[in-house]
Symmetry: C2
Subunit: 312 residues, 2 copies
Amino acid sequence: MRALARAISQAEAGHGAELIRRLFDRTGNAITIGLTGPPGVGKSTLSSALVRAARSLGKRVGVVSVDPSSPFSHGALLGDRIRLTEHFTDRDVFIRSMASRGHLGGLAGATADAVLLMDAFGMDVIIIETVGVGQSEIEIAELAQTTIVALQPGSGDSIQVLKAGILEVADIFVINKADHPMANQLKREIRSMMAMLEFGGWVPEVVMTQALLGEGIEELWNAIQKHVAYLRETGEMNVKRSQAFRHQVRQLARGRLERRLEEELSAEMSEDIDPYEAAARVLRVFGFDGGVAETEPEQIRPAPQRATVKGL
Amino acid sequence: MRALARAISQAEAGHGAELIRRLFDRTGNAITIGLTGPPGVGKSTLSSALVRAARSLGKRVGVVSVDPSSPFSHGALLGDRIRLTEHFTDRDVFIRSMASRGHLGGLAGATADAVLLMDAFGMDVIIIETVGVGQSEIEIAELAQTTIVALQPGSGDSIQVLKAGILEVADIFVINKADHPMANQLKREIRSMMAMLEFGGWVPEVVMTQALLGEGIEELWNAIQKHVAYLRETGEMNVKRSQAFRHQVRQLARGRLERRLEEELSAEMSEDIDPYEAAARVLRVFGFDGGVAETEPEQIRPAPQRATVKGL
């Protein structure tokens, strides 16, 4: 465990390349679970309950906590970590909160490294916990095979879900604090939003939990198992793995490109020329000969999407 | 006005390069104001009131409405546009909501084009209105010379401001709905957050408004004028212009690089290699010879920052 901690610290500081290279052959065995949701929904309590469920089956568990929105990652996560204290003395549970500062691939890059390292070090189940329900959280969830979106009754979360395009990426919805009077209404809202979509294969499960009391956790664990079985049977697991791999490659390459781009932009720049001409000049450094819009523009990278809106 | 509308549509669809090239000489005269804040704070009412203030001085005004978070830009903005109806028949007010779909530089790229075009077509004041208080809104605010952050009392907004690093980019804070019982508390919170910073030159103004009643709008307009005068006297206006220029170049170059990157990523990729090696191979296309981490990693692009936290 100490070696794993050191390895992740090294990766986090941007020096993980050599380690990952050497250990990559040993990866690919873990189940990775993404858990995302707004602040206060009880993600850490859910994580903790899932750790307990996995431990009761003898699994070794890794938890990566990520807060992309907070500039004070460590401080903000302290509270979360406290909620996970019960597992601190368990030698088969490894908990880690992530900072992004030094990593070329940003937070997603550092997280991807941590997941690979936990996998290589023999964790059977890896939970990637991110705060928030926005594009960046979805992106981090791309590293996971099973994406859980936790929502809170009576908070207007369902609208956020719809807006952020999360409906299309969630494999399992958890309505935590299910004793709340609005819990059933939230469930109905999710169901009716789902009714607007056509699902190609997996249809998201909606699970009600009271994580603090451990209620619904067995159902949640079963839903995860069911999703993993679905992924394996249909061959979608390979798609997921390949997606996570590409995502990591993307983050790494993007980090390098961005840094080089900033170098070019900080160089003296003539402002007699227009921005399109200036961009074309910058792009020559990257081997582009033509202008900026040399081919027809199209949307660059569609949000990850498995379901399609009916009638569109 | 019809020609301007057509020009912006063309730019929005990704065909603005030629137009911008030809018209670039005519830009540089407008005052650009960024207005950002969470949903419901009353941005459109504030915009509308600012339009009225500028019109009463005989200025021609352009408004660009941007909603980066919404996948349904047009629908979501309909409500906003309704609030601006009073200006629809005014031939010297041009209102436009932005979609990002076709533009190589994303929403920021399309917005930058629209601002340049409005400027070239003779708008004296251009308001760039964005929803939300996060990094992407700050980014769009980089196009503006004066950035206004609107906040709502009793909404916990001040915490969001701190977290999102907005304190460092706001030139003017507006506390709208100033009749709210928590308005003075919010003002105190902003003041005490400001006390933690050291400002090099301009110290953000805090203005209380009730935009619906037109109250405080004169003070807000005066604060804008004061900031613009400050920028001109200190020469910071040129810094601002250069920043906006670089930002647009960045968005354009980034769009092109991203698209090329996705092409490479969607090509057949051997998964026998580790992600670092795969990234190094992808990067060769962009003229990089070494590995991903050939130089020491560092933070790629610091958030725009004018003030520094004391003691850090």
